[in-house]
């Protein structure tokens, strides 16, 4: 602010290379800390000067220049666009072709930050021919370079299916799949994130990712000691599972459901969220898969999530997943009800602090419409609000006419009394249900 830019600018053109490098480093650090300074760097026309003689300079200068570009490009899309417009991408390609791994790392980091903002910038990065060089970078032995290259590929492919397809066409999937075995935790995070960004766009891309034989190796990532590796692993599995029932079947057969359930049980907080959603997607596809989730003991961890987590979106995800599990047939609803989930759902629904987004009502409705497990229903009968009572009473009216033991039980547990206490408008559905129930019993008992 105190005219530092005007002072540093001529130093960039100094004869002594050391001064040039230090000036570039200073600019980079200034731009890194604050986006106003980054704007000043751009406005002061420093970038073209920085880039003009880049190809003849030594590696320290290239590193510093790439650092400046990264620092400017990371703050906002406009700054990134101005960086691109200065012709930075060609220079960054030259840096990517350099032998020194530090230079390559700095260049790919800059590309990553530029491509992160939106799909046009990613497209510009791709058009400059970055992807084959990045795939080469991934194969280099230095771990830091691999990390950055993986994160850049992840940022490029996350915007649109065409970009992801371009990344796949460069043969990135095979190398990324090999890197899953690497013991470094941060590298695994980036690799898993890259694979999940590729797989999320379409069925073909997901199938390509699966064909790279990542299962069952990915399941070991779910047991890693690093939280974010677990989260990204669960995200990858979720992105694969959500497309078709066949892919879900594949993952269930590989034992993925058990691994994810254990992962949910061992984590806390937002790290659990992708795992919960994965279970929901699997259960949503078909009733066999839903039964597979139940058999793998999926319901207790989801129930625990509902109780323990404070954040709304995790609770909503857990409730949605439970709804998907329970909505197929009476057996599924019974399995969900036996796990004592329904009172918890009801209490969350009734809780005044919970928001409408939770869509607990839809979940409850889905489960209740198939539930024939009467003890659980009776539990709910006592505290439920009118719009839920409608469904509960409807279920009773369907089951009671056919089952005499259930009728007896219903009377002894005081359910019939409760039903009498419900006031309903005559002619409404609720009244019909109540009438059906009353017709099952002789007059004296009803009185």
């Amino acid at each position: 602010n105190s005219g530092v830019m005007t002072l540093l600018r001529p130093l960039l053109l100094d004869v002594i290379p050391n001064i040039q490098q230090t000036a570039a480093l200073a600019l980079g650090r200034l731009a890194n800390s604050n986006d106003a300074l980054a704007e000043a760097v751009v406005k002061g026309d420093i970038l073209p000067q920085l880039l003009c003689s880049l190809s003849e300079q030594n590696r320290f200068y290239k590193k510093a220049a790439a650092f400046v570009l990264r620092a400017v490009g990371k703050h906002s899309p406009q700054l990134a666009r101005s960086v691109v417009q200065c012709g930075a991408l060609e220079m960054l390609m030259i840096c990517l072709e350099d032998f020194d791994p530090g230079v390559k790392e700095a260049a790919s980091w800059a590309l990553g930050y530029i491509a992160r903002h939106n799909s046009e910038l990613s497209q510009a990065v791709v058009d400059a021919g970055a992807i084959p060089l990045l795939v080469l970078c991934i194969q280099e032995p230095e771990i830091a370079l691999k990390r950055i290259a993986a994160s850049t590929l992840s940022d490029i492919s996350k915007h649109s299916p065409e970009l992801a397809q371009t990344v796949v066409d460069a043969g990135a999937i095979a190398h990324l799949a090999q890197l899953i075995l690497n013991p470094d935790a941060k590298l695994k995070r980036q690799v898993l994130s890259a694979l999940s960004q590729i797989a999320k766009h379409s069925v073909e891309l997901a199938e390509l990712v699966v064909e790279a034989e990542i299962f069952p190796v990915v399941l070991t990532c779910l047991k890693d000691s690093d939280e974010y590796v677990k989260k990204n692993g669960a995200t990858l599995i979720r992105e694969i599972v959500k497309h078709t029932p066949e892919l879900s079947q594949l993952i269930v057969n590989a034992g993925g459901v058990a691994a994810v359930i254990d992962c949910i049980g061992s984590c806390r907080g937002t790290v659990r969220l992708p795992g919960i959603m994965m279970l929901g997607y699997v259960a949503a596809h078909s009733e066999n898969l839903s039964m597979a989730v139940i058999v793998s003991k999926g319901i207790p961890p989801l129930c625990a999530c509902l109780i323990e987590e404070q954040e709304d979106h995790i609770k909503a995800a857990a409730a949605w997943a439970l709804g998907q599990i329970g909505r197929h047939t009476p057996e599924h609803a019974c399995a969900v009800a036996v796990a004592n989930v329904l009172p918890i759902l009801l209490s969350i629904y009734m809780d005044t602090r919970s928001s409408e987004d939770l869509q607990i009502k839809a979940t409850l409705k889905n489960i209740l419409q198939k539930c024939t497990y009467l003890p659980a229903l009776e539990q709910l009968l006592h505290d439920a609000p009118p719009n839920i009572i409608k469904h509960i009473v409807g279920q009773f009216s369907k089951v009671l006419p056919h089952d005499s033991k259930a009728r007896r039980l219903f009377v002894t547990t005081g359910g019939l009394k409760k039903v009498q206490e419900i006031k309903a408008e005559p002619g409404s559905l609720l009244q019909e249900y109540i009438n059906t129930i009353n017709n099952c019993y002789p007059e004296e008992i009803v009185r």
Partner: protein, 363 residues
């Protein structure tokens, strides 16, 4: 005449009667006419009515017959359709029964195979158990690795500390810090100090950036230790040409443990080679004397023959060459002359010591 008078009287009466009769007739004529008309009309009416009745009845008969015919035809048709419907219903029922059975069978076998589903779910649980146990093992292994690494690090640090503080070792006169005279036995640190070598003043080598990565590399089990940076070339040596590989890489490559290919590890012609080797070994084992037979040149003429232990000891029998078949005492000899040989002499042995080589001077 009377008759005529009578007739003339009667004629007057007659005229009156005639008149009356005509009149009455006339008057009655209308009545009679009307009556006759009435009777006739009545009769005609009856006739026509009976004719109509007859016609009616005939028409009824015809219509009856016709309607009967048509209705019977219709009835037959109805019966036919009813029969047809009955048959079709029957067939439908039977077809429904067949379809019911078939659909139940097919769905239970292929679509909703309960037992296959059950087996599948059981298989999934078994598979899950396997996966869970494998993952558990993996985590334990990772944890153990981590613990081991931490322990090693701690040990290393401790040893380094001991080396640095070597001067704290206790001497004969003065007990060190860790060897207080009030203790029963010296502190473990004291023992460590005794074991450790003192650090030289050379600066601690900074860790090369490659050590940590290559340590994790699956093929390189120990971290390669090498000097920092590039080695300085000797002053008088000529500058080496060309771009060489990185020293670290070369070192790593050189110290890569051997991974022989299958061809090398398991010889293709191994039985033959093995047999040959076996034979060679056997021969060598069976040889009593390691030295080869010396050539028959006089270079080795003066070489003393080393007898075997078997011969040279007092327990071995004195064999050929030392034992003579003649009595040693000449007084006891049978003949004066030497014994004659029975066998023809071997020419080669005659030349022993006196042969063809120019180095031996006999020739």
């Amino acid at each position: 005449m009377e008759a005529v008078a009578r007739l003339e009287a009667r004629l007057l009466l007659l005229r009156e009667e005639w008149f009356h009769r005509n009149r009455s007739l006339d008057e009655e004529r209308k009545i009679e006419y009307k009556a006759a008309v009435k009777i006739q009309s009545w009769f005609q009416g009856c006739r026509v009515r009976s004719y109509l009745r007859y016609l009616n009845q005939m028409a009824i008969i015809i219509q009856r017959w016709w309607r009967g015919y048509v209705s019977r035809k219709h009835f037959r048709k109805m019966v036919k359709t009813a029969y047809f419907m009955m048959k079709m219903n029957f067939y439908n029922e039977m077809a429904v029964r067949i379809q019911k059975r078939w659909r139940g069978y097919y769905i239970r076998k292929y679509v909703h195979n309960y037992y296959a589903l059950k087996k599948y779910l059981e298989a999934i649980s078994v598979n899950n158990e396997i996966v869970r146990s494998e993952l558990q093992k993996y985590t334990e292994m990772m944890e153990n690795e981590k613990k081991r690494k931490d322990l090693e690090k701690k040990e290393k640090k401790k040893k380094y500390q001991a080396r640095k503080m070597h001067y704290l070792l206790s001497t004969e006169q003065i007990p060190g810090i860790y060897n207080s005279p009030f203790r029963k036995s010296p502190d473990p640190m004291e023992l460590l100090l005794r074991k450790s070598k003192p650090l030289s003043h050379r600066q601690q080598q900074t860790k090369s950036p490659f050590t940590s990565e290559l340590y994790d590399w699956p093929t390189c089990k120990r971290p390669p230790t090498f000097s920092t940076g590039q080695p300085l070339p000797a002053i008088s040596r000529q500058k080496p040409q060309g771009p060489f590989h990185d020293t670290a890489e070369v070192f790593w490559q050189r110290h890569k443990p051997l991974e022989p290919t299958l061809h090398m590890a398991a010889f293709i012609s191994s039985p033959l080679d093995k047999a040959r080797e076996e034979m060679k070994r056997e021969d060598w084992g069976n040889c009593i004397h390691d030295k080869e037979f010396l050539p028959f040149s006089s270079y080795n003429k003066d070489k003393k023959y080393d007898p075997l232990i078997h011969r040279s000891g007092k327990y071995g029998h004195e064999g050929y060459g030392t034992k003579h078949f003649r009595e040693e005492n000449p007084k006891k000899w049978v003949a004066d002359k030497d014994f004659q040989r029975v066998f023809p002499p071997v020419v080669l042995f005659e030349k022993y010591g006196k042969t063809y080589s120019s180095t031996g001077q006999i020739v």
